[in-house]
């Protein structure tokens, strides 16, 4: 999930009776699965929640390029280099669609990016972990994009039209990235030497738990879920999606011939799901608050990119103005 703990600003979900006429009509539309479009009336809380969620999602796409940028200059073959470059390009594209979807809600891209740089806005906690060997490029594709897809497949049905449509487009590309990521790992496990197999297991050991954290806190500690569910911005709870991800991922893990760093991970016949160990929530909240391994570097890199590019953007505007004046004259 690329958006975690999105604040709805609502303490308790209202019933239809407690709503005024406008709000009731809105909720009835949502209940009837009619998409909300940019020009439709919507409660302020709905608008703000969506801006927070979509901007967080867009920021995640952009910050998510950095751990891959760490290896794109070191990709080992033409095939892997081209794949990774194409993936990074797709992510920049996803960032652009998402910022556009967000702007339909009246938000301003530059303002939201300022919030990211000042630490006010969040991005997915997963991108605060370093990529330490080449297998991370496979594990990021398989686990991180995999976790993102579980969430995004559901978001294709989210109640806000522009967000839902962006998700449909993004999901197609993400599934492709996920298969490529898995194939990087599978190739290393099936055709690689001992050192390569160790890289794969090492990447899984480091990224397994942070990937599970991508779904956000467990339902009991997820104060914003009820309202987001009522508005059908979210369609399933964090724990449901996390379970779905684990259930689909463990057979793939076994097929690789690797293990998860979780001694409690085992199939539960009765539940029809995998049981798994307790997530280190302290780590999750620490990373979210800025105390993760790469938080400082990620934000610093992004801020520098935008600051160092200021003269370029100013020049582009100045040139466009000069051209306009000349064509008038």
């Amino acid at each position: 999930m690329y958006a975690q703990m999105v604040d709805t600003g609502v303490k308790q979900v209202k019933s239809l009776d407690e709503m005024d006429a406008e709000e009731r009509a809105f909720q009835q539309k949502i209940d009837a699965e009619v998409k909300i479009e940019a020009k439709n009336w919507m409660p302020e809380g709905y608008r703000k929640t969506l801006i927070r969620q979509i901007s967080q999602h867009a920021h995640s796409e952009v910050v998510g390029m950095l751990p891959e940028g760490n290896w794109v200059t070191r990709a080992p073959t033409f095939k892997r280099k081209l794949q990774l470059m194409a993936k990074i390009q797709d992510e920049a594209g996803h960032g652009l669609y998402l910022y556009s979807a967000m702007e339909t809600l009246g938000a301003d891209r530059d303002e939201e990016i300022d919030k990211l740089h000042s630490g006010k806005a969040k991005y997915s906690s997963i991108f605060n972990y370093p990529t330490l060997n080449w297998a991370d490029m496979g594990a990021v594709g398989w686990l991180v994009d995999g976790a993102a897809i579980v969430n995004q497949v559901v978001l294709q049905r989210t109640s806000y039209g522009p967000y839902s449509r962006a998700m449909i487009r993004i999901c197609k590309e993400e599934s492709f990235h996920q298969r490529q990521g898995y194939e990087i790992l599978l190739h290393m496990m099936q055709h690689g030497n001992e050192a390569q197999k160790e890289m794969v297991q090492d990447a899984i050991n480091r990224l397994w738990w942070p990937s599970l954290m991508m779904f956000g806190p467990s339902d009991a500690d997820s104060p914003n879920s009820a309202q987001s569910m009522a508005w059908k911005i979210k369609r399933h709870t964090n724990d449901e999606l996390r379970q779905r991800f684990i259930d689909q991922t463990v057979p793939q893990l076994e097929f690789l011939g690797c293990t998860a760093p979780d001694p409690d991970l085992k199939w539960n016949e009765e539940r029809g799901h995998y049981d798994f160990g307790v997530i280190n929530w302290q780590e999750f909240y620490d990373v979210l608050k800025g105390y993760g391994p790469c938080n400082r570097e990620r934000i610093e890199t992004r801020r520098q990119a935008i600051d160092n590019g200021a003269w370029v953007r100013e020049a582009a505007v100045a040139h466009a103005n000069k051209k306009k004046q000349r064509s008038v004259a």
């Binding site: 940028g69 200059t73 070191r74 081209l82 920049a92 190739h187 590019g309 003269w311 040139h319």
Partner: protein, 253 residues
């Protein structure tokens, strides 16, 4: 130092330049001045690395010693690389990066256009495919040169400084050598004189639109990318790019 037959040497020059330029663009990942540029820089890089693979595939076929394009790209030493000195220069600021891109694109564009008529069919085919991409590259980099040259006082100064830094490497676009002469005689590549003129005209036009002055012809300074005599920057670039292949020579990726 020439190692292979003329056509193979030429294929290495083409492939190595595209690869090194693409590698420099990869270094921009996450650092571009705007998200649109993030996409465009990676997109151009992707095209160039793809072109490099095509040229080096053909070179590997001709060398025929068991090495494939990957081995040529990721295991060859600095002294065996045949790329232009220009493309191995560090990225600097966006003005340096776009100036490098433009000077290279203008040369690629005219060269590839002529190569589509090459007497060697495989060269003609690779050129035709690459040209479609390079038409866009040149349009984009020309627009940036114009925007930055004719933008603000600061951007103009940065562009002038960038050109001052890079211009001396353009002697390689102007000089001919035995490989070029022999291949152009047999109709495989265009005449060096004509190409030089076309390149100069394109550069002069874009620089003029950008209110930038066109320097005098660059003079050579005892280095030659096509003979494997590089600046000190290439070795470091290759050390990074070739790390995995060098550290794990028996690995399959």
């Amino acid at each position: 130092m020439k190692k292979y037959d003329e056509l193979t040497e030429f294929l290495l020059r083409m492939g190595d330049s595209a690869l090194v330029q693409g590698q420099r663009l990869c270094e921009w990942c996450g650092r571009a001045p705007a998200l649109e540029e993030e996409m465009a820089l990676m997109n151009v890089g992707l095209d160039l690395v793809g072109q490099a693979r095509n040229w080096l595939d053909y070179a590997a076929q001709r060398i025929n010693d068991g090495r494939d394009a990957d081995m040529l790209a990721f295991r060859r030493d600095e002294r065996d690389y045949r790329n232009l000195l220009l493309v191995e220069q560090p990225n600097g600021d966006f003005a340096v990066t776009m100036s490098k891109q433009f000077l290279y694109d203008a040369w690629q564009f005219h060269l590839l256009e002529a190569l589509t008529e090459s007497a060697d069919q495989q060269v003609a085919a690779i050129a035709a495919k690459s040209l479609k991409e390079v038409i866009y590259h040149l349009r984009r980099s020309s627009e940036w040169v114009e925007r930055l040259g004719d933008g603000t006082e600061e951007s103009h100064q940065r562009m002038a400084a960038a050109i001052d830094t890079l211009w001396r490497f353009t002697f390689e676009f102007q000089e001919t050598d035995a490989v070029v002469d022999s291949l152009s005689e047999s109709g495989i590549i265009p005449d060096a004189g004509a190409l030089k003129q076309q390149w100069q005209q394109t550069v002069a036009k874009v620089f003029t639109d950008a209110t930038l002055s066109v320097p005098e012809d660059a003079r050579s300074f005892y280095l030659s990318g096509r003979e494997g005599m590089h600046t000190e920057h290439l070795g470091i670039l290759l050390a990074e790019m070739q790390f995995l292949q060098r550290a794990y020579p028996d690995a399959s990726w």
